[in-house]
């Protein structure tokens, strides 16, 4: 097609009306000339006109050929098809609405979850050459470490010795609530310390100001901070002059050197401030610097080095470090992996499960739509055959069917996109912290492309399948069927039933998965965390202004604080603790029991510091010995309390009370021995779903520090205590902000938010999927029952019991759902392993869940068949009467 031709075609579309007039004029002129010629030869005008028309040979046919030749025909036809499709939709709004809503729900859920997947997993990290960045970690088979944080000394050695890395930097694995004064009221910012070259290694420049220098890694460097974009906006009113200003951060002056861009959120999206690590250069050679593991290192691969090469070199260097420091680095190994994978690691599996669930939901939706359209296609087969007989080409008929399904899919997709867009916002707003490591989750071009693809695919399948399927039937058959009023042929039957069974199967798979997560969550809520949640309030305080106070001054302050809190009406106990369970666990240590061999020594024991009344405030039972007393303070005998798990595991058959424990795996003359004075019940420290860890508890009064938490136990509603607690603290010290105040119930609840979120989301998908599947079953049964009305009328007339007739229809629904349930359970059974890692206390092949889901689906399936059965009985009877 040349340009001219193409232009004429395009122009033709705009000029159709005037072209049509021209064509009319031209033919009229021709006929007039021809008639006039005949009249000139003496033929009467009427006859002349007749001859002219005969010679012309079919005015309308010529016009049609001419119009076809204009080349705008396909477009004009699309218009006609669209009009036809719209008329059909208007004539059957229930069907159209169902199809559109079904598609929209399916696509909407995919859009929402896929947006998250796209943002978290598919989008590259916003760093320079992010695929060259790797995360490093330490493994220790003896200690059972996998992917642990690295010791700073090891990390610095990697930087110096592994030539596969062009740089190694790290962030510290804990977030501190830094108290910042200098922007109105004292405020707490979540701060993370990083080594000086961290931002340069990533290739991220601050949006304002400058970053850190290599020298800032060490305490000889500057006292500076970088603000996150959000903290700058929310806490400093987006004031550019904040750069260069000096703030009081945790009681020390620090200059704000810059503001990071909004897209930067490492280690976490809610990090508000970065500080340099500020290690003392003296520490470099100290044992603790290689013993304490708290860094998350990131390295950039040197040019041309593969991950495998870097791994091999890292392992060699680590072996050398093990030989050089045999005591500290015993059996210590290191490994690395792509940074992106590492960052999304724990998010990937839940997201993929959710994506899989929405995929199942979409499949159910498509099967449902396919079924609805097939059933209708069967009903319209006669129309198609008639049009065919009247000369319509197959292409033309398929095109018309395609237009119709494309229209449905497009409307469905658009509504789905809207639902998905809204769903994404809900997802982001409700997502538990940490599920999505990024905050800018929104449907992007990729998501829209996916939806368009889904639309096109569904349109193609639903549009052509029924038409092609009727194409295979001889016209005579179809017409006969049509005459008889029973329209669907055998093939349609098979398809419709297959789709309904498939739908039920998918719904069963989805519902089983959801059921497992719901049960897992339920199990979690039933776990006894080891402490009493009702009536307890936990609050976090920091004492930056007292950082340099002598210990006696600090304990005096503690006494005042606890006395004030106890004086609040309704408060029974107030106590201090270094860590509130389920929020943070603190450092772990090695330990050894005096007079015992290696069976009396262990690693990775949790450590907390507490004040006297902690166990009473938290309702943790004393199992043996005593708890702390006022005498267990500065200068007193070093004493500790151990938890029951430690007592059972390391003192089996022995009395732990009066035994001595040191914080070294192989104690020497420098070890400090502390006497065990009591054994207390186990608290779940890490997570509700994680068994209690072995734990040693020190009296906080023997080692007072400034950052701590307070637990307050009162009568009645604990949240009613918030205000009195805050005013008591502010009366004691107006510069002492309460960083957070929460009920223990709230803390437990929040610790399960991720599991609850998964369970709720999956349950929602499952409910929608099950409803769609039941609608599918209903549609098939109702259609079949409708066809059987005459037959049933005859049966009734011949004396068949209504119960028997009802059973005929119900049996149909039962057969469909039962077949689907069998297939779906088999799939769920086979695929269950994928979920195992995310389930608590429930096997992925939990018989109860399977049985409940199957029973529920079968019962709803039979119920869905009840309505057509009732209608058929009624109609069947009246049919008989009418004859």
């Amino acid at each position: 097609m040349g340009f001219r031709n193409a232009w004429m075609r395009v122009r033709a579309n705009f000029r159709r009306a005037s072209d049509e007039q021209d064509l009319q004029d031209e033919i009229q002129f021709h006929l007039d000339q021809e008639t006039a010629k005949h009249v000139r030869h003496g033929i009467p005008p009427d006859e002349a006109r007749r001859r002219a028309l005969a010679a012309f040979g079919g005015v309308e046919r010529t016009k049609e050929t001419y119009r076809d030749g204009r080349g705008d025909r396909p477009l004009a036809d699309v218009g006609a098809d669209l009009g036809f499709a719209l008329r059909l939709l208007r004539r059957n709004p229930t069907l159209a609405g169902t199809v559109i809503l079904t598609l929209a729900l399916g696509m909407g859920s995919v859009v929402a979850i896929f947006s998250a997947v796209s943002a978290v997993i598919l989008r590259p990290l916003p760093f320079t050459q992010p695929d060259r960045l790797v995360a490093l970690w330490e493994n220790n088979d003896v200690k059972g470490w996998r992917g642990e944080t690295a010791a700073p000394a090891n990390m610095l050695d990697w930087r110096e010795r592994v030539s596969s890395f062009s740089g190694v930097e790290a962030w510290t694995n804990f977030t501190e609530e830094a108290i910042v004064v200098g922007a109105g009221d004292p405020t707490a910012l979540r701060a993370v310390a990083v080594t000086g070259g961290f931002f340069r290694l990533l290739g991220v420049r601050p949006a304002l100001g400058a970053g850190f220098d290599d020298g800032d890694t060490w305490s000889t460097g500057r006292r500076v901070v970088l603000l996150s974009h959000r903290a700058w906006r929310d806490k400093f009113g987006s004031d550019s002059s904040v750069v260069g200003r000096t703030l009081r951060v945790d009681g020390r002056d620090a200059e704000v050197v810059g503001v990071m861009p909004g897209s930067f959120g490492l280690p976490s999206e809610d990090t508000e401030m970065w500080t340099p690590s500020h290690w003392d250069p003296q520490d470099r050679g100290q044992d603790w610097f290689r013993r304490a593991h708290f860094m998350r290192p990131v390295a950039r691969l040197a040019a041309g080095v593969s991950i495998e090469q870097a791994r091999a070199e890292l392992m060699t260097v680590m072996s050398a470090l093990e030989r050089e420091h045999p005591r500290i680095n015993a059996s210590m190994k290191a490994d690395l992996g792509p940074l992106h994978e590492y960052l999304v690691g724990s998010t990937r599996r839940p997201l993929m499960i959710l994506l899989g669930a929405t995929g199942l939901l979409l499949l159910i939706a498509c099967a449902n739509v396919g079924n609805l359209l097939l059933v209708r296609a069967a009903a319209r087969e006669r129309e198609v055959v008639l049009r065919r007989a009247l000369g319509a080409s197959w292409g033309r008929i398929v095109r018309q069917a395609l237009t119709e399904s494309a229209l449905l899919s497009l409307i469905g997709g658009t509504v789905g996109l809207a639902i998905g867009w809204w769903g994404t916002r809900v997802l982001v707003a409700w997502q538990p912290a940490g599920l999505l490591p990024v905050s800018n989750v929104q449907p992007d071009a990729r998501v829209v492309a996916v939806v368009l693809m889904l639309c096109a695919a569904s349109a193609a399948i639903f549009g052509t399948a029924p038409a092609l399927w009727s194409a295979q039937r001889p016209a005579a058959d179809a017409l006969k069927d049509g005459m008889r009023g029973s329209s669907a042929g055998r093939k349609a039957h098979l398809w419709v039933h297959g789709l309904a069974v498939g739908e039920v199967a998918l719904a069963v798979t989805l519902t089983v998965a959801a059921g497992l997560f719901v049960r897992s969550y339920q199990r979690l809520t039933l776990v006894d965390p080891g402490f009493v949640t009702s009536g307890t309030v936990a609050l976090t305080l920091s004492l930056p202004t007292r950082r340099d106070d002598p210990p006696q001054a600090l304990t005096a302050f503690y006494d005042q604080l606890l006395a004030r809190l106890r004086a609040i009406p309704g408060v029974e106990y107030a106590a201090l603790t270094s860590h509130v369970p389920l929020t943070a666990t603190g450092l772990t240590m090695d330990f050894a029991i005096r007079g015992r061999g290696s069976d009396g020594a262990g690693r990775e024991v949790l450590h907390r510091r507490m004040s006297r009344d902690y166990f009473k405030a938290m309702g943790v039972p004393l199992i043996a010995g005593r708890t702390f007393e006022d005498a267990d303070g500065i200068g007193g005998e070093p004493v500790i309390i151990i938890n029951q798990t430690l007592a059972t595991r390391y003192f089996a058959g022995r009395d732990p009370i009066g035994q001595y424990i040191a914080n070294d795996f192989t104690p020497d003359s420098s070890s400090v021995w502390r006497r065990v004075i009591g054994v207390v019940g186990d608290e779940r420290q890490v997570a509700v779903g994680t068994p209690p860890q072995i734990e040693i508890i020190d009296p906080i009064y023997q080692d007072p520090r400034t950052g701590f938490h307070v637990v307050v136990r009162g009568r009645g509603d604990p949240s009613a205590l918030f205000r009195p607690i805050e005013s008591a603290i502010s009366a004691l010290d107006p510069m002492l902000p309460v960083l957070s105040i929460r009920t223990m119930e709230g803390i437990v609840d929040r610790s399960l938010v991720r599991e609850r979120f998964m369970a709720l989301l999956l349950a929602a998908f499952a409910v929608v999927g099950a409803i769609l599947a039941v609608i599918g079953v209903y549609g098939v049964v109702a259609q079949a029952a409708q066809r059987r009305i005459p037959e049933i009328g005859i049966r009734l007339a011949l004396g068949a019991a209504p119960a028997h007739v009802r059973w005929l229809i119900l049996r149909h629904g039962l057969a469909l759902t039962a077949a689907g349930a069998v297939v779906g359970s088999l799939v769920a059974f086979a695929a269950g392993g994928v979920l195992r890692q995310l389930l608590f206390g429930v096997s992925p092949r939990d018989a109860f869940t399977f049985a409940t889901v199957i029973a529920a689906i079968v019962v709803t399936g039979v119920c869905a068949a009840w309505f057509p059965a009732r209608r058929v009985l009624r109609r069947g009877a009246s049919e008989v009467l009418n004859r």
Partner: protein
């Protein structure tokens, strides 16, 4: 057999040939083909117009609306430069074709 249908494909050539003499409207073309063929070829007059449309799309003819001597509006077709070249070529093609057919028939 006083009249015969125009061979498929030759209609375009006939139209081009007729128009090479002077611009003409559709009816004129049909009359001229009839006269020139001495009444042997009876063009189905209706099929002229799609053919003219085709030629116009191929850029071989141009059309414009003019007023006839009887003061009527009529669409006149005229050969373009490309059309003029095409007449020569198509005529040569046709002659070769006819000669070839003659050879076979006389063999």
């Amino acid at each position: 057999m006083p009249e015969s249908d125009v061979l498929r494909g030759t209609l375009d050539l006939l139209i081009l040939k007729v128009l090479s003499a002077e611009p003409m409207h559709g009816w004129g073309v049909s009359q001229r083909i009839q006269e020139r063929s001495r009444g042997v070829l009876d063009v189905n007059q209706g099929s002229l117009y799609p053919a003219l449309q085709r030629l116009e799309q191929r850029g071989l003819v141009d059309s414009e609306w003019q007023v006839t001597e009887q003061n009527r509006r009529a669409r006149y077709y005229r050969l373009t430069a490309a059309g003029r070249r095409a007449v020569g070529q198509e005529t040569a093609n046709w002659r070769r074709y006819v000669t070839a057919v003659e050879y076979i028939l006389e063999a």
